[in-house]
């Protein structure tokens, strides 16, 4: 019957994408040795828990969280057994140190490190240890370090040619050092203790000065490209992946500037509920943000940059505190840290096609564990 033989929309492309995922799943499977002891039973039990979490219906997840909020999501896996995106790695910062979690769930503690973040291709981390800024490999091998008092908020540029820089704060001074550990110098003094943000594919930095203005400046020449009028103090800055927009997160506001600073959108005004975190979807101008109000927290998704928040969609609501969100590198998953429930939720796309809850975060990673970056293969 000819009618039934027509391809469905997207059939071929979906097949190509899915083959990559299925092949990864198969290769993971054939790497697992078969053993005739108690371990297969334990693995099967663990897998059953993961599957139970994986098939939690999205509707149940959303409304369950409102109804049964104290304990978090039901059917949560008791530990993080794997990441939903193959060949990716999740960086976690906690009071014990920085953790690098592989897609198969194995993890390594970089003891005593804090404020860790990925280099552009995930080959290195930049992190703090005591009073030192260190560039190290995910296995803990340190490539270089520099000692400064009051170090905070290091971040790697993503210029693209391999000529990278690292920006960091030393008390209220913004400093920049080469990716090879050379050429450390001060770029600006008297700035706010807010993590600076590199504009992708450039050596241009955005930071918040001591008066609350956002300043966009070349780290190579020191030239200021633009600065914003004073506004609600920004607590976080982030560029969209294409460098066209800069997001400034205030205590209860979100402001988005275009890269020239001449256009400005305020999707969330200063009278809104407190904003805890916000993040652009990779390779997109869509963004997700977390608000906290009346004992509840909500993740919202804003599919397009618009002048107000009326088009924001609610992704997930739960009692207590959410604190961080991070997108997977393929933009298909969002991980949400739900501190009050000691859970992380892996949410499949902003349309909540699937929710994988994972509990026991504090036991696994230590206190104050938050996802700090979900990196490239």
């Amino acid at each position: 019957m000819r009618l039934w033989d027509d391809p469905a929309p997207g059939e071929r492309e979906a097949g190509d994408r899915s083959w990559d995922v299925v092949r990864d799943g198969y290769e993971e499977r054939i790497r697992v040795p078969r053993k005739r002891d108690w371990r297969p039973i334990a693995i099967a039990a663990a897998a059953a828990v993961v599957v139970a979490g994986a098939v939690t219906s999205p509707g149940h997840a959303v409304f369950g969280s409102l109804r049964d909020a104290v304990r978090g999501e039901p059917n949560a896996a008791p530990a993080l057994f794997s990441l939903p995106t193959p060949r990716s790695r999740l960086l976690v910062n906690s009071a014990r140190g920085a953790w690098v979690v592989q897609s198969d769930g194995s993890k390594r503690l970089l003891d005593g490190y804090r404020d860790a973040s990925w280099s552009p291709h995930g080959l290195y981390l930049i992190a703090l240890n005591g009073k030192e800024l260190r560039a190290l490999e995910p296995n803990g091998d340190v490539h270089w370090s520099v000692g400064r008092a009051g170090v905070a908020s290091p971040s790697w540029s993503n210029e693209g040619s391999g000529d990278e820089r690292v920006a960091y704060l030393a008390h209220s001074t913004l400093r920049v050092i080469g990716g090879d550990g050379r050429g450390d110098r001060a770029l600006a003094r008297g700035i706010a203790r807010v993590a600076p943000a590199w504009r992708p594919r450039t050596h241009v930095l955005a930071y918040v000065d001591g008066t609350g203005k956002i300043v966009v400046r070349s780290a190579d020449t020191g030239a200021i490209q633009w600065s914003s009028a004073a506004q609600q103090q920004s607590n976080g800055l982030e560029w969209s992946g294409d460098g066209r927009y800069l997001l400034a997160r205030g205590r209860s506001s979100i402001t988005v500037f275009n890269y020239t600073g001449r256009e400005r959108l305020t999707p969330l005004g200063p009278s809104a509920a407190p904003v805890v975190d916000a993040a652009f979807l990779p390779l997109s101008h869509a963004l997700a943000f977390v608000q906290r109000a009346a004992g509840r927290s909500t993740v919202w998704f804003y599919p397009q940059l618009r002048p107000d928040a009326t088009a924001a969609r609610r992704v997930f609501t739960g009692a207590g505190d959410f604190d961080r969100i991070a997108w997977s590198p393929d933009a298909r998953w969002l991980v949400l840290s739900w501190r009050s429930a000691d859970q992380w939720l892996f949410i499949r796309s902003a349309a909540v096609r699937k929710v994988i809850p994972v509990s026991g975060i504090q036991e696994a990673f230590g206190p104050d564990a938050v996802p700090a970056g979900w990196c490239c293969p």
Partner: protein, 178 residues
């Protein structure tokens, strides 16, 4: 579809022994109907991709236990169609619960051919349960008895759903379905 029953047994045997190329042959052979079946039940290309992909991942996880004397398709299709029904039901529940943003979720991509468009539009008027039995009967070409077994339904229920569903489709698809 190309690929005989003997080919399929060889692919399964190869995949069980660690051959990625045999697994790929099995995947390429079964993907179009698995995806199409999911799409025709859920009417959402992203969800269809998830459902078909997860069915294959479940198949990979269970590959060692699979009896290669049995055909692979029915096993896969049972997973696909049941998950597609579950997905459609959960979406309907969310709509009833008044979660407004869900109505804004990604619109499905338009069907690529006139026939596919006609079919998708006609099926959209049916419940997911009716869509599922019609898809299993006419796309996947199972008998009512096989459909009953796959979906865990009495055979009489399958027959009545087929009759009612086809009656509703008849006005729009009369020529194609006869």
């Amino acid at each position: 579809m190309a690929g005989s029953r003997g080919d399929e047994r060889a692919w399964i045997r190869g995949a069980q022994s660690g051959s990625v190329s045999d697994l790929e042959a099995l995947f390429r052979h079964h993907w179009p109907r698995a995806y199409r079946a999911a799409y025709l039940v859920v009417h959402d290309s992203a969800a269809a991709e998830d459902i078909a992909q997860e069915a294959f991942l479940a198949a990979v996880r269970g590959l060692d236990r699979f009896d290669r004397r049995r055909p692979f398709g029915p096993w896969l299709h049972r997973i696909v169609v049941n998950r597609a029904i579950d997905w459609s039901r959960s979406r309907a529940l969310r709509r009833e619960s008044g979660d407004a943003w869900l109505g804004l979720a990604e619109a499905p991509a338009p069907p690529e051919s006139e026939h596919a468009q006609t079919l998708a539009a006609a099926l959209a008027d049916l419940s997911p349960e009716h869509r599922a039995v019609i898809v299993m009967r006419h796309l996947l070409e199972y008998t009512p008895g096989e459909i009953a077994k796959a979906l865990g339904l009495p055979r009489g229920t399958v027959n009545s759903r087929l009759r009612r569903g086809l009656d509703e489709l008849a006005g729009r698809l009369e020529q194609d379905l006869q």
